[in-house]
């Protein structure tokens, strides 16, 4: 099952996140639901608006799992993440 330990290898689409650290101040504190994922970007649904967030620029907090993930560590294609991410 999806839990805090295997979250980096697991499906991120559909989860609620909050951006807790970013090199871009305008992204700080943004929170929403992940609706799409590519190698370098995460697409967030923020109250009905879609926003693209570069993975390498942010740290994400998953409130449901109480985990913070460094976006740079999951910068792989979604199907590659299972194999490439080190847990």
């Amino acid at each position: 099952m999806r839990d805090g330990r295997n979250l980096r290898k697991h499906e991120l689409i559909g989860l609620r996140i909050r951006i807790v650290e970013s090199s871009d101040p305008s992204l700080m504190g943004l929170s929403g639901r992940i609706v799409d994922e590519t190698k370098n970007m995460i697409r967030l649904d923020v109250n009905g608006n879609e926003k693209s967030v570069p993975k390498k620029a942010v740290k994400l907090r998953f409130d449901d799992y109480d985990v913070i993930i460094d976006g740079a560590k999951i910068a792989y294609r979604p199907e590659d993440r299972i194999k490439k991410v080190r847990s």
């Binding site: 999806r2 290898k9 697991h10 499906e11 689409i13 559909g14 994922e37």
Partner: protein
């Protein structure tokens, strides 16, 4: 340094995660399709299929009839696809690419009877 087994091996853990992710993506695709967001539904089917191909995992049986193998779109009965009963077969037409699937539903007739 100790070697960690064969390189690039598929472990049981990977396959299990892949299976769970495919399941999650298809249920999300169904939800989005029912809310009329076909673009997202098709994208989730595409992602799920990519995971399945990479880790040699099949699409769960309950979703097997509800995606197009040709164009990766989610087939919603009465929406993006036409489901008809036709001569002992369920005929599914993808309205996106026009591909037709036929699933027989009568058992094979015993020869000579």
């Amino acid at each position: 340094m100790r070697r960690r087994g064969r390189k690039g091996r598929r472990t049981k853990e990977m396959v299990n995660i892949a299976r769970e992710r495919i399941e999650i993506l298809f249920s999300l695709a169904e939800e989005e399709a029912l809310n009329g967001r076909m673009g997202r539904a098709n994208r989730y089917v595409h992602l799920a299929r990519k995971i399945g191909m990479r880790y040699n995992v099949r699409v769960p049986r309950k979703y097997r009839m509800y995606y197009c193998r040709k164009c990766d779109s989610f087939l919603l009965p009465g929406g993006s696809a036409e489901f008809r009963l036709n001569n002992g077969k369920i005929t599914v037409t993808c309205k996106n690419c026009g591909n037709i699937y036929r699933h027989p539903y009568t058992k094979e007739k015993i020869r000579g009877s």
